[in-house]
């Protein structure tokens, strides 16, 4: 039979030491920082290129119908929204303020963050896709009037096919993400209860 002091002696006799030095940490900081920044940069650049492209098309191509103008405006707004969401997340994560919160506050922050990701990945993504779909539909109105019929039909069929594939893949992704986030939120709720004073 051992008492708590005996356990304390065992604890202090342990040889369990971290395998990392402060140099390893600094190397990792540099590596991960650039990897994350690069990922963000590539995504933002991709969207920026799309915005420039849409703006140039809008400026130099003489569209005949107001629906095409509205379509391009929707495309550009969707791209801007994507960049805004990326940067807002990046700023929240990189500010690091939440790290200093008390555990119960931190758990509440994590829960809210996870909930907002869940809403972003499900509801907001659906609305986002819907707007892209509307933009395409508006654009095809002009295509229908100015291009040969076969081109219009080919364009519509291709767009619908592309949407169907994306919707199928996204449904799988959303289901997985929903399950994962749901599990995390319930674990966080269990933790929140433990840390209540």
């Amino acid at each position: 039979m051992k008492d708590f002091d005996a356990l304390k002696n065992i604890w202090h006799g342990q040889a369990a030491l971290p395998k990392l030095s402060y140099d390893d940490i600094l190397k990792e900081v540099r590596k991960s920082k650039s990897a994350f920044a690069n990922k963000l940069l590539i995504e933002t650049l991709g969207m920026a290129v799309a915005i420039v492209m849409f703006t140039l098309i809008w400026a130099y191509k003489p569209f005949l119908m107001w629906t095409s103008h509205l379509s391009l405006a929707i495309f550009i707004l969707c791209c801007l929204y994507y960049i805004f969401v990326q940067f807002r997340d990046y700023r929240t994560i990189s500010s690091g303020e939440s790290l200093f919160h008390k555990p119960d506050e931190y758990i509440a922050y994590l829960k809210n963050y996870r909930r907002s990701r869940l809403i972003l990945n499900t509801r907001k993504y659906t609305v986002y896709s819907l707007f892209i779909g509307i933009a395409f539909a508006l654009y095809f109105i002009e295509v229908y009037f100015v291009a040969p019929l076969w081109q219009t039909i080919a364009g519509i069929v291709f767009t619908i096919g592309w949407f169907a594939v994306c919707a199928y893949l996204m449904r799988i992704y959303i289901r997985k993400e929903q399950n994962k986030l749901g599990e995390i939120i319930s674990k966080l709720e269990k933790l929140e209860h433990q840390f209540a004073d």
């Binding site: 065992i10 990392l20 402060y22 004073d197």
Partner: protein, 165 residues
């Protein structure tokens, strides 16, 4: 930059062992503990400027470590802790001395506790003052004393039960 690195080195050397114990106690796994410790100190580095005027740096580092451990659930795709710790004990039995075996058993017993209990007891074992533990865990000191008493009793009971086997 040189100053920042020197400051970081000082902080790391003064706190890494205890932070590692906390992470090890929380996860019950050596590799996961190293990962969490690395993540903790990466966050410390990123927020180093905020530490400069803090009197109790170790409290803030512990706070970051605790929060990092709590968010470990986000990426938890590992085997169940008990199973994992059992495997570690089984696989390494021959190479463990009696003393190390006792340490491994103690970690296994800690992993049976609730998450908040694991965090509190590793700090108690590392002799962190009660006032600091209260500040880190966000529990009032009076309440903490009661909790610690209960956790000590629970841990001792689990350890003795395993030792009798």
């Amino acid at each position: 930059m040189v100053n920042k690195e020197a400051f970081f080195k000082e902080i790391f050397q003064a706190n890494s062992k205890k932070i590692f114990h906390l992470c090890y106690g929380y996860t019950g796994d050596d590799d996961a503990a190293n990962d969490l410790m690395q993540e903790t100190f990466m966050k410390v580095w990123q927020n180093l400027d905020k530490f400069r005027n803090q009197a109790m740096i170790s409290t803030w580092i512990y706070r970051i470590a605790v929060n990092t451990c709590l968010s470990w659930l986000r990426v938890e795709k590992r085997q169940a802790k008990d199973e994992l710790t059992d495997n570690i004990i089984e696989n390494k039995r021959e190479e463990l001395s009696e003393k190390n075996e006792q340490v491994a058993l103690l970690y296994k017993c800690i992993s049976q506790l609730e998450e908040n209990e694991r965090i509190i007891i590793t700090m108690v074992l590392d002799e962190v003052p009660y006032a600091e533990i209260a500040e880190i865990s966000g529990v009032s000191e009076g309440n903490l004393r009661v909790k610690i008493h209960r956790i000590k009793h629970k841990l001792t009971e689990i350890y003795n039960r395993y030792e009798r086997l």
